[in-house]
Amino acid sequence: MTDRRPVRSTAHDLARYAGLFAQRTKVMKSSAMRDLMALTERAEVISLAGGMPDTSSFPADTYAALMQRVADEACARALQYGPTEGFAAAARCIAEVMAEEGMTVDEGELLVTTGGQQVIDLVCKTLIDPGDVIVAEAPTYPGAVPTFCSYQADVVQIEMDEDGMRIDELEQTLERLEREGRRPKFIYTIPNFQNPGGVTMSLPRRQRLVQVAHERELLVLEDNPYGLLRYEGEPLPTLYSMDGGEFVIYLGTFSKILSPGIRLGWAAAPRPVLQKMNLGKQAADLCSSSMTQLFVAEYFASGDWREYVNSLVGIYRGRRDAMLEALQTHFPREAAWTQPEGGLFIWATLPDYIDTTDLLARALDENVAFVPGRAAYLDGRGGSSMRLNFSGSDETAIREGVRRIGKVVGEQVALYGTLTGAAPAAPPVVDEREAGQVAEQLADVLELPRRATDRRRGRAESDR
């Protein structure tokens, strides 16, 4: 039984509404993949598909105490609308988080948003007319794809390697676009522990990207949700800190360092851009939640927020290591994957005869899920890759999940061998891969030409 009100509907309904839908809904991506992804939510499925932080380690009594304090001290404000740009108290917390990553920001250059996702939406709303070019990484954040599509942007994706977006290719592409008389409105990048690629943009590339933006007067949208979740190595300066407040729009969020449920992110941008985004936000939702902004302010006032981030870093480091180890053990030799220094994701690429969308259907039979690589491209590429999340499951589940995926991949590799008459691949041998071999394979992971094998070791000294 249901209390859902029965609606009148006939087979003509679709045709009737179809004439009312805006053009942009026709390019919104919706798909088989979405139907498949819906199955990943079944309780028995080990989902390595989501991008969820682990909120279970946040102490319930802390949460209760903070909410109590908000109620005691600011009940009416918490229940009221707030300013579109956000409360000053929230802006002070944001400034603190940005300072932690070496940035100084004027509170007048901040816009509190409803999650980081809203920044992507507002930047598109502010800058993109139908047909305008957005330059993004290949692969790019799957969650940005529907946003780009809904603004009818023409997205050009630039290849990455282990040093992040290839700026040489970016420059060639910008040249080509200029010859074609098309000026990209902005370059979208996740420099730290890229989603889904798991790679980090090197310092020389960051420097060059900022230079390119200045030379060509192009905006860069720097999406940095995971910067503080670094498990090894030294942090690199953000593009925002190198830019001098001219061409970089910075996207930050509390989702990965505190909670995605509070839906609070922010943009820091040159004032004229921020003013337009502010107008866009007024139109979208007037303001972000007063209640959760005050919650964040209380949280920052009540103690050191870094301690919780540090505890997350400890948890996620263990999970990343568990996943890397499980991949080494259970994935066939033909597979390659990235070695993220932080963040939430590993990007794995299988031989090109394996279609990871089909593989997901098979994996779901084994009650395990991942994101098929195609979700991260707008041009149908990525068919043999997958995104694996290690923040949302515990180490035991990660090992078991990777084992199950490895099993079905192994079956398909063997079957392909049988079909083509190639010898079935030997099982992988743990700990025998040379560092150079790994680097060589890593170039393949992102579907790039192979690079010199000593590149990785060289980088450590030159970049940092």
């Binding site: 006939t10 088989a32 593989l359 079909l419």
Partner: protein, 319 residues
């Protein structure tokens, strides 16, 4: 008025579509004055059915379990009347290889094909027969899982080099794959609903016209704007009748009951081929059966009422 349990959702790859079908059926049943009990099929199914004590069960469960005879078997055991085809017909429709053999045995044209299990490739060296198959069936070749309700896993192989990967993909969905000769032409669907006297009635034909693509894929099948559906299909004189007759022949050959949908191809030279039959066709806003019924002047509520009446009128099989 009756109490009707609607089986929907479940674990199959068509879960989302099934939830939409089920919700629409539920609304229709309520408008018709029945008591509707929606059940998202899970491990507690038998308990929920026992508790609900329905007069009949409306199977709106697509894909595995709902279309392969599993649910029907269970409902037979529980002695509950249910909509649509019975166990054996479901099994025949679900396994496309079995469907095609039966069609062929009944002299109903279906594209040439060969089918192999994974074991045949792994243990019997069937891969060595691939060149001969490619010779017989020509390129492009359609490679699909033997059992899969939607278009997931269906690939075109345009050359020898594409075949192994297409087979690997198809095996993601089933233990048996079908290699089929590609029939270029028009993509037609005939929905069939039984009349009060039990005679199958072929509804107006729906043609799927892909827009700017050479194959309408899983996405297009359920979404707006990717494939245009024309109903009734504009066909030359006599072709529509021939198509409907052939579809009813296939429906009978497979032993379907209540309602079903038969998919066919109309080749450029006017030859018709039956591809497959669906024992639990979609009932969403974009599904073909409701569109066809509507074109025949049968509203969705009326369609649901008729399908239910057939279920209530037949005796459960006691064994």
């Amino acid at each position: 008025m009756s109490t009707v349990a609607i089986l929907q959702g479940g674990r199959s790859l068509e879960r989302q579509v099934s939830l939409k079908s089920g919700a629409r059926v539920e609304d229709a049943l309520q408008r018709l004055g029945h008591t509707a009990v929606a059940i998202d099929v899970d491990s507690d199914l038998v308990t929920r059915l026992t508790d609900a004590k329905p007069d009949a069960v409306f199977v709106a469960l697509h894909g595995r379990d709902g279309e392969d005879g599993t649910i029907q078997e269970l409902l037979e055991v529980l002695g509950l009347p249910y909509t649509g085809s019975r166990v054996a017909a479901c099994i025949r429709c679900w396994d496309k290889v079995l469907t095609k053999h039966l069609l062929r045995d009944h002299g109903i044209p279906t594209p040439d094909f060969h089918a192999f299990s994974e074991t045949a490739f792994r243990e019997l060296g069937a891969a060595q027969a691939l060149p001969a198959i490619e010779d017989q069936l020509d390129f492009p070749l359609v490679v699909k899982p033997a059992a899969q309700g939607s278009a997931l896993g269906i690939k075109f192989a345009r050359a020898t080099a594409d075949v192994p990967a297409a087979i690997v993909s198809a095996f993601s969905y089933d233990r048996k794959v079908l290699l089929e000769r590609y029939v270029p032409g028009r993509d037609l669907a005939v929905s069939i609903v039984e009349q009060e006297d039990g005679a199958p009635l072929a509804l107006p034909i729906v043609e799927a016209v892909p827009e700017g693509r050479d194959f309408y894929d899983f996405e297009a099948r359920y979404e707006i704007g990717r494939t245009r559906f024309v109903c009734p299909a504009e066909l030359p004189d006599g072709v529509a009748e021939r198509t409907q007759e052939l579809a009813v022949e296939a429906y009978r050959a497979l032993g379907c009951a209540g309602f079903a949908r038969v998919d066919l191809m109309l080749r450029e030279d006017g030859e018709l081929f039956v591809l497959e039959a669906n024992s639990v066709p979609g009932l969403t806003e974009t599904s073909l059966l409701p569109q066809a019924a509507d074109a025949a002047g049968i509203g969705f509520d009326q369609l649901v009422e008729r399908i239910l009446a057939i279920a209530l009128s037949r005796e459960p099989v006691r064994r």
